[in-house]
């Protein structure tokens, strides 16, 4: 197992280098001058020259590339044009907000999707089963930003149950440490803040989690249906085991591998969805920052942000692959 993990980690290196190359090329292969594109038509020659110098655009492409890779290895992604702070610092400051949102979204998606899928599978063709299938089909066809807008309209504007934006209410006394607000407020035993933070999390997390929830429910259902037809399930029932035991211990355990795969795949959807959800809910995370950087034509941030997202995505996929062995001992890694 350890050997396999090391092997897989080593295999990530060429992929990550490839990702870095693509991100580099996106900016440098386009026709025209990146400095001009960033500063716009009305930029003065002096400003253009300064930016070119700062970004090293005057050097030949291969030197620029070499410097870019060297800097990356040291964790240096350049400086933001907007704030002049190192890009990596800006990304690190915002990533916890995205992580927290994604975490609660996936908790919601799995927490509702898996039980719904199990319930649908043991009551095949019931009204609940049919309804959950319709919701699942709508879920994969729905733009996440529309769902977010509808949530804001219904639950924030009309009903007033939840705040429509941001992570924390005005006037709440709270000092972030790790920027994972939920963790921070628990560490500090600041429960007024914790309640407010969770209250702000509900709407965006459910909006972000709904589409993965629909897909997970669908996958759980079909995976469970397949297992429930197996002989050993019939045997288990026949020897008089309790229904609960058969379903959760015999069936669910064996249906888990495809469910985990789909949960892992949803993480990619989630990261993409975070960009949209954060934009709609003014959530100060990585996704919103990336979109703001695009509007401001802050290319170092755009580059760094995409690279960061892709790295997280690749690592999550690896973790999903490795987790198979935990749920299914038959899977052996060479």
């Amino acid at each position: 197992m350890i050997n396999y993990i090391i092997k897989r980690l080593l295999a990530l290196i060429p992929i990550l280098i490839g990702v870095a190359v693509i991100v580099f090329l996106i900016v440098h292969l386009i026709p025209g001058d990146p400095a001009q594109t960033m500063l716009g038509e009305r930029a003065t020659d002096a400003a253009l020259a300064r930016l070119r110098e700062q970004m090293g655009l005057n050097d030949p492409l291969y030197i620029q590339f070499w410097r870019y890779i060297k800097d990356l290895l040291r964790g240096d992604m350049g400086r933001s044009i907007m704030s002049n702070n190192p890009v990596i610092t800006e990304l690190q400051a915002r990533f916890p907000a995205t992580l927290e949102l994604s975490f609660f979204a996936i908790i919601f998606a799995v927490g509702v999707g898996v039980p719904a899928g199990i319930f649908a599978s043991i009551n095949q063709n019931s009204w609940f089963d049919n309804l959950s299938m319709v919701i699942a089909l709508m879920g994969v066809s729905m733009p996440i930003f529309w769902l977010g807008l509808m949530f804001i309209w219904l639950f924030a504007v009309q009903l007033g149950w939840f705040p429509p934006s941001s992570r924390l209410g005005v006037g709440i006394d709270f000092t972030p440490i790790t920027n994972l607000y939920v963790v921070d407020s628990i560490i500090q035993l600041n429960f007024t803040a914790l309640v407010d933070i969770l209250h702000h999390l509900v709407l965006p997390a459910i909006a972000l989690g709904t589409i993965p929830m629909a897909i997970i429910a669908r996958m759980t259902r079909s995976s469970m249906l397949e297992v429930l037809r197996k002989d050993y399930i019939r045997t288990a029932f026949a020897k008089g085991l309790q229904r609960k035991v058969v379903i959760f211990k015999h069936a669910l355990k064996n249906a888990l591998v495809p469910i985990i795969t789909v949960v892992g795949l949803q993480f990619g959807v989630l990261l993409g969805g975070a960009v949209m959800t954060e934009t709609i809910f003014s959530w100060p995370g990585l996704g919103k920052y990336l979109v703001d950087a695009i509007y401001a034509r802050d290319f170092p941030v755009v580059q760094g942000g995409i690279l960061f997202f892709a790295t997280v995505f690749v690592l999550v996929n690896l973790i999903v692959d490795l987790s198979y062995a935990l749920v299914d001992p038959r899977i052996q890694y060479e």
Partner: protein, 292 residues
């Protein structure tokens, strides 16, 4: 007599006809087809169906709620939302079809080369595809459009690019699984050239998964285009693109929720059509593929 029997056999064993019959029997497949046909008709006959000019502004009738005069209401410029949605179907279909066509042609080309010739070429192409798949796809599209400039044309290009790896992978795996079959060796022994083998023998056998992937990809392409336009990176105002309409609606959510509601429903309707047809096609073309 023998000849006649042969003919009957041939007629019954056309796999495409069989698949078509199975598709017509599947409820979801037929529902999907119906939605897509409706969407196509709306797009083609938009000028006849739309009650108003989708660009015509009327400051006096801003934010009118749905009524007999404006069935789906009006937006901040007093434009008729129904007419805009009708014209918007043209843009969404165009983007979906062109982007996927581009991905199809390039992806199939790369997949064919990789699968058929194998070796180093295969390794280089497929590693590159792996790298592209290492990006959450919408983010790669956002990156491409951010640099190329926010235009519908660029959004289409970006969506096409991010869809290439899926097609390449499907074709390559089909090719590899049939490349070593005896009938391909036989064709080679008879002196068939690479082109003949690829187009006459390999490609037709890889058709079923390709058709399913194309249909499902159009669905995601429409969603991706709407997302890019919503972020201001695709279709630009005053274009009646559905995602762009939603973007405009954000500021008026409180006083005119219908401006956001209906374009969203239009997106769901269109995307649902292609998803349903894709699911139906998958069952009809190859029941074994159900969980791909």
């Amino acid at each position: 007599m023998a000849e006649k029997n042969n003919k009957v056999l041939k007629k019954n064993s056309n796999p495409w006809l069989e698949a078509w019959r199975r598709l017509l029997k599947s409820k979801i497949g037929v529902a999907g087809m119906a939605i897509i046909v409706l969407l196509l008709l709306v797009a083609i006959f938009a000028p006849m169906l739309a009650p108003y000019d989708p660009y015509e502004q009327n400051i006096l009738s801003r934010y009118k709620s749905p009524s007999a005069q404006h069935i789906l209401g009006t937006d901040e410029m007093g434009r008729d939302i129904l007419s805009r949605i009708i014209y918007g179907s043209r843009i969404s279909l165009q983007v979906g079809l062109f982007a996927v066509l581009m991905a199809l042609v390039i992806g199939v080309g790369l997949g064919l080369i990789a699968g058929y010739y194998g070796g180093k070429l295969d390794m280089i192409i497929m590693r590159f595809m792996d790298i592209m798949l290492a990006f959450p796809s919408i983010l790669l599209a956002i990156g491409i459009v951010a640099i190329l400039g926010p235009q519908l044309k660029n959004a289409m290009l970006a969506i096409g690019i991010i869809n290439i790896p899926r097609f390449a992978r499907i074709i390559r795996s089909s090719i590899i699984s049939i490349k070593e079959s005896e009938y391909i060796s036989a064709a080679k022994a008879l002196g068939a050239g690479d082109a003949r083998i690829i187009f006459k023998h390999l490609l037709p056998n890889a058709m079923a998964p390709l058709i399913v992937q194309t249909t499902l990809s159009i669905a995601t392409a429409i969603l991706e285009a709407a997302a890019l336009s919503f972020l201001g990176l695709g279709a630009q105002p005053p274009s009646p693109e559905w995602g762009a309409m939603l973007s405009d609606a954000r500021s008026s959510l409180q006083k005119a929720p219908w401006v956001a509601t209906f374009p969203g429903l239009a997106i769901i309707f269109g995307v649902l059509g292609f998803n349903l047809l894709g699911d139906g096609l998958r069952d009809a073309l190859d029941p074994k593929m159900k969980n791909v």
